[in-house]
Amino acid sequence: MKTFLILGAGTGGTMVANKMAEILDMQEWRIVIVDQDETHYYQPGFLFIPFGMYSPADVVKPKRNFLPPQVDIIFSEIELIEPEKNRIKLSRDKKTINYDYLVIATGSHIHPEETPGLTDEAGWLKSIFPFYNLDGATKLGSFLKFWKGGRLVLNIAEMPIKCPVAPLEFLFLADWFFHERGIRDKVDITFTTPLPGAFTKPRASSILGDMLQDKNINLVPDFNIMEVDQEKQVIRSYDEVEVPYDLLVTIPTNMGAEVIGKSGMGDELHFVPTNKHTLQSDKWENVWVIGDAGNVPASKAGSVAHFMLDVVIENIQRHMEGLDPLPKFDGHANCYIESGFEKGVLIDFNYDVEPLPGKFPLPGFGPFSLLKESHANHWGKMMFRWMYWNILLKGGEMPFESQMSMAGKWE
């Protein structure tokens, strides 16, 4: 009996388990998936919790519901991966699992302790909150409910972060939220980012930058945070620029899972060096990487994990047949950006082509407009949750292709 082992049962791992269960002969193979947490979090939903648009119950479901019965699920922390020996060690019962194929889908996670002063007790989760996990998002929601206004500062500690548009969405939604509550004039909103502008890609950056300006949100670019000075209530950059806050919303440093670092399989941020077109590990040919866990220079997003899926599955099957992997992954990302007031912007891009204006997914028709605000884009984002739970996780067909298309776009 051969073992197909998947580490992490989040977005990527769950999709791979579902696909492989359809493909592999169960007389010959057993599929095992390991995760430390029994709950599946719909992370894109974390964005809406601070504003009371979603409740915590809207974003959690048991992982088991999304995995097919023929897959062995083990709930345990993964303690060590030993790729030279083709085995892993679990914390639970000190169990060892040998594998023939390994898929790493352990995701990326926030590390606020990387920024000095950020998690000091006085302000952490009292006037300083992350929203990239459920606990932070929920506590921020409780805080915002009764906040009377002041200086709201959002800081990105370091790139790369998962869902690089989420900070912008947070700002747009905050602007809307304070408008609705009638206190927008009492809130000063500032965005501090290590990037040279609002976003990573120049065309989108300029359009999104204009949107920030229209909404009266200050932008402080090239801001590399050195520390949080809680006593003075300022964040300070390495070149000694200080930005004062009353409420600090932080996107802390994002890193791959600790076990990747501990096993000597990661780069300086614990991301696994991965071939950006085949999604095979650079070092071990029976190790494959999907989702946020790898170091490929694509956005870390659920939609990207979905676009990676077909490539990973095809290449693993090819490898099983003794064929070379195909360099098919093009870095395709597709993100809805909530912009407030029930509108949204959609961007679609890959390694080589930055986000362009146009219509998506049907050229000329849409219904979604690229790089432009529309109500349809907002409803697209709201529908995404249903699609995520019901189609995406099961590895089902989404209404668009894995490789990016230029149809319906203009340069």
Binding site: M159, L195, T200, N224, M226, Y238, L269, S299
Partner: protein, 100 residues
């Protein structure tokens, strides 16, 4: 006539062909940015060129601090205001990726 005139830079000031790079070029460009290169600067420039290897891709801030044995603070003192970008320019490399 300076070494800078013999070199092609893109609109953001990054060298387009990292093979054209020379040490004189680095010193001249650093001078233009108001930096006089010391051994500490050279250690970092050499590290970045090595890291980039054939790909010409500049390392990120974190790759420099964890690989070259300097703290971020020191790096900002050596190459003020955006060290990753500045080192990349002076080392004749492309714009640091890292941001996607």
């Amino acid at each position: 006539m300076t070494v800078l005139e013999n070199i092609t830079l893109n609109e953001e000031g990054f060298m387009t062909n990292s093979a054209e790079w020379t040490e004189e070029f680095a010193s001249a460009l650093a001078e233009k940015e108001g930096i006089t290169l010391t051994d500490a600067h050279w250690a970092i420039i050499n590290f970045c060129r090595e890291q980039a290897g054939d790909s010409g891709a500049a390392p990120t801030l974190r790759q420099i601090t964890s690989g070259a044995g300097v703290t971020t603070k020191e790096l900002f003192q050596l190459f003020p205001k955006g060290p990753a970008k500045k080192v990349a320019k002076i080392s004749g490399l492309g714009k640091p990726e890292g941001c996607v």
